[in-house]
Symmetry: C2
Subunit: 340 residues, 2 copies
């Protein structure tokens, strides 16, 4: 009998989920029913959004229940199929959960990976630059941010998996790009690996002045993954008709009640700025378009990604909290098996 190790939500965190909020259990794999698939998970995803999935606060998905397998994106290979659309060997992705194997109805699969799109690329890219992170960057920047050639674009969490992709797409769109990241190593990543025109360290004492100097005449487009004091420094620099894409709020682990900060209303008014929220799940109908374009840019050498691979399901419980401590470099994934 094949055993399946699963990471369950053990208790509900207030704020950041730590290792102790989860437990790893081992259970026998059930037989698959008609219409179901058995999937061997290759890579599990670790995303900041998972904090919201386990907190009992208004969100865009219902919270994971105590005792349930932790919700997560994952990529895996179909091991057995009782659904005509899928065959053994297909690589699929979706909310397969933090577990070694997934048994679920085929209808719950998000998509089969297109061999042509993924040729020569690791399937783990489907969890990052060719998955939710890249698709988020693509639609949020292009559809909400609407970059124009010559715009000065500032990105917070610029060395993160969304931010790094945003910066590169903004360059492709003809913008000048300024990354904000924490620590010298991430600032260097922004400049060297992800091609930002400049990058500043929000941990520096003179961060607001350094940002202002880097931005020159001001900020036309702010792609915000953080909120908090980082954003305060950027808002002070917004130019006429600036756009702010609110894509993440990782600076705070708890928004009930909301943290205090400088009110933005006057700045928004005087600049006639537009501040707009983005959640990738609204754009699922345009997923394939984004992935095709992103993979083409990767093949052309215009889009780079960086992965941080943790090995084994034992790494999962502590992996979300690490994101919020800024300890990761690149898109964090957990490898359970290799593609080949």
């Amino acid at each position: 009998m094949t055993m399946n190790r699963q990471v369950l939500l053990k208790s509900r965190p207030v704020g950041i989920p730590e290792a102790g909020h989860f437990e790893i259990v081992e259970r026998p794999l059930p037989e698959i029913a008609d219409g179901e698939l058995l999937i061997r998970n290759h890579f599990l995803s670790v995303d900041p959004a998972m904090r919201g999935w386990v907190n009992d606060a208004p969100n865009y998905l219902p919270p994971v229940a105590i005792g349930e397998v932790m919700r997560s994106f994952a990529v895996g290979r179909v091991h057995a199929s009782r659904h005509p659309k899928y065959r053994e060997g297909d690589l699929v992705t979706g909310l397969l959960g933090w577990q070694e194997w997934a048994v679920l109805p085929a209808a719950q699969i998000d998509r089969k990976l297109d061999d042509a799109v993924f040729a020569g690329l690791p399937s783990s890219a489907a969890l990052g630059v060719l998955g939710l992170n890249g698709v988020t960057a693509y639609h949020a920047l292009l559809e909400i941010g609407r970059p124009r050639p010559g715009d000065t674009v500032v990105v917070s969490s610029a060395a993160g998996s969304v931010g790094a992709c945003v910066g590169q797409i903004a360059k492709i769109a003809g913008c000048r790009t300024i990354g904000i990241a924490g620590g010298a190593r991430k600032v260097e990543l922004c400049r060297q690996t992800f091609g930002f025109d400049d990058a500043v360290d929000y941990r520096d004492a003179d961060f607001p002045a350094a940002l202002k100097a880097a931005c020159g005449a001001g900020v036309d487009l702010y792609f915000d993954n953080t909120s908090g004091p980082i954003s305060d420094a950027v808002y002070a620099l917004l130019r006429l008709r600036a756009r702010v894409v609110v894509c993440g709020t990782v600076a705070y682990d708890n928004w009930a009640p909301p943290p205090q900060g400088p009110r933005i209303d006057r700045r928004v008014l005087v600049a006639r700025a537009r501040v707009e929220g983005f959640i990738a799940t609204d754009w699922m109908h345009r997923w394939d378009e984004a992935v095709r374009q992103l993979s083409a840019w990767m093949r052309e050498g215009r889009l780079t990604h960086l992965e941080e691979v943790l090995d084994g399901i034992e790494a999962a419980p502590a992996s979300i909290a690490g994101l919020y401590r800024g300890e990761n470099f690149g898109k964090r994934v957990i490898r359970l098996a290799s593609d080949t």
Copy 2:
């Protein structure tokens, strides 16, 4: 020799301009030069935006200089013209200033009032519902707020000259309208005079709960003239894809540095809300369209306005501060002469 009484900016306020920041002087009228007009001002405007015009902070117009005539909109009749486009008797409007007479180049006139549009309506309407306030309400609500039939629309400063007009246009657009105002008399004005479906008093201890009850399933469109704790209560109720029009920030007299409040980022993100600033001067090219439609609605009895008329130029210096204390009912104007 005709003497001209003028209100000059005497000292620069930090925050709200009070009576003591101005002085009234009497000066002889100069001869008009070629290309100039002599205008007898009938009505001077008193607007919250005038605070920004005298403060030495980044704004959309340079600050009024010390010793200059206070900038203001006004409506007046051409008394003498040395420009072919204007004739004696024309009613004109523009930044004629807080003075009894204006001598200025014809190029500085904003517009001649169209007799057909203003037939049967007082020229003072050109300073309010058929002027900057109405045009602001029209474009800010329709172009930035984009109301949809059935939307729940909340308006702050709902008994004010912009807010009252916004509420009525939103009703015409098929929305359910909730006004926020200060004090029982203004709340009653919202309900009875301006036709809001409901109105709540932000001075009530249970204001957030009363607002929530009035809004039912939440807020689709928030037209904000205030910022501050009033807005905090509304943001908590924003529904999916809510729109916030940032049109005024009257809750605070000083934005350097910005006042503190709850951060809105998470709410904007989760609701995929759009928060956008509006300044009417961006929409001057579509002024006539707005005034034609607004005057048509007035004639049809679908749009009502309320004026508070102060008499004589002596009323001018204290009149801005009064707006910020909420002491006015209706659009505040200063009458210097009657139309007939």
